[in-house]
Symmetry: C2
Subunit: 178 residues, 2 copies
């Protein structure tokens, strides 16, 4: 299991696009194949290691740096990582890729349409952002820079999490990452 | 492998006491038993995720908090962690234990005598601290609070890394952690 070069799968996309759900399903699917991984989820990080950070551009940048550095420490130990963060800026994602250049880095763009994400709004964030109860919210008053050339693109609008996982697994197999 | 409650082994001790060496040997020994783990080493962390931090009491505290939160994310994913940091203050180590209270937390005090550590001085830190080229150095001008009741105590003065690893493995087995 730990003989292959570790991989880091980086999910990027709007809030409520399905990043966490798909990454949790992916983690389980990998484990049934004997491939273990560590999951770094944006919301969980915000409650712990990044609880000193807000949502300004600078703080988002620092949050992404910490996630990439954590994934690096995990990968250096021979363990795979899955990161699920909005990570709205191209430059920050490139920086993550650069920090992780010794490993397989797979950028997955969860390209669920904005309207669908806003309609889902499981945590009421979009609604709060619309009435300015929260600010710097990606897609409302902070931009999301779409990946120009992601390794994988998925859309959770009409696909189940397991459908999306199959796309990721195919990529990993076809590229001999797993 | 991932059915057991994950463990976090926390090595504390002076610089050059042998924390990193023993933890690297431990990681390999665990792997030959089919138990994988992620290693968070103080020096490596300082080059990456904690490169914004210095060695003031506050920054040491923050470095330990980040390490504990990282180990938590790893453990939440079902993977074990080994942390090797000087972590000189009792309060900070207690805080790490508290952050990791949902998991097995094993404090290993690497109780190699100060004189031995200073004589080893593989990176020249003790020498630099003596002539004040570096400050806030544990054991010279910053204190090390010995653990009062560590789970395990080892001394690398007259024992090989593998001898020390055997002590840790015995503890883990006797306590049904592995």
């Amino acid at each position: 299991m730990e003989n292959k070069k570790p991989f880091v799968i980086w999910f990027t996309g709007l809030s409520a696009s399905g990043k966490t759900t798909v990454s949790e399903h992916l983690k389980r699917a990998l484990l049934t194949r004997g491939v273990s991984s560590v999951l770094f989820d944006g919301d969980t990080m915000r409650k712990g290691i990044s609880k000193d950070l807000g949502f300004s551009d600078e703080d988002r940048k620092e949050n992404i740096r910490r996630t990439a550095e954590m994934a690096k420490l995990v990968a250096l130990s021979g363990v795979n990582a899955i990161c699920a963060l909005i990570s709205p800026f191209i430059q920050d994602r490139q920086s993550a890729r650069s920090i992780l250049s010794d490993f397989h880095f797979v950028e997955v763009f969860v390209n669920t349409p904005f309207d669908v994400c806003e309609k889902r709004d499981p945590k009421g964030f979009y609604q709060k952002a619309r009435i300015r109860e929260i600010i710097d919210f990606t897609g409302i008053d902070s931009i999301y820079e779409k990946p120009e050339n992601p390794d994988i693109m998925i859309n959770t609008e009409n696909k189940s999490p397991d459908d999306c996982v199959r796309v990721v697994l195919s990529y990993l197999k076809n590229n001999e990452i797993i």
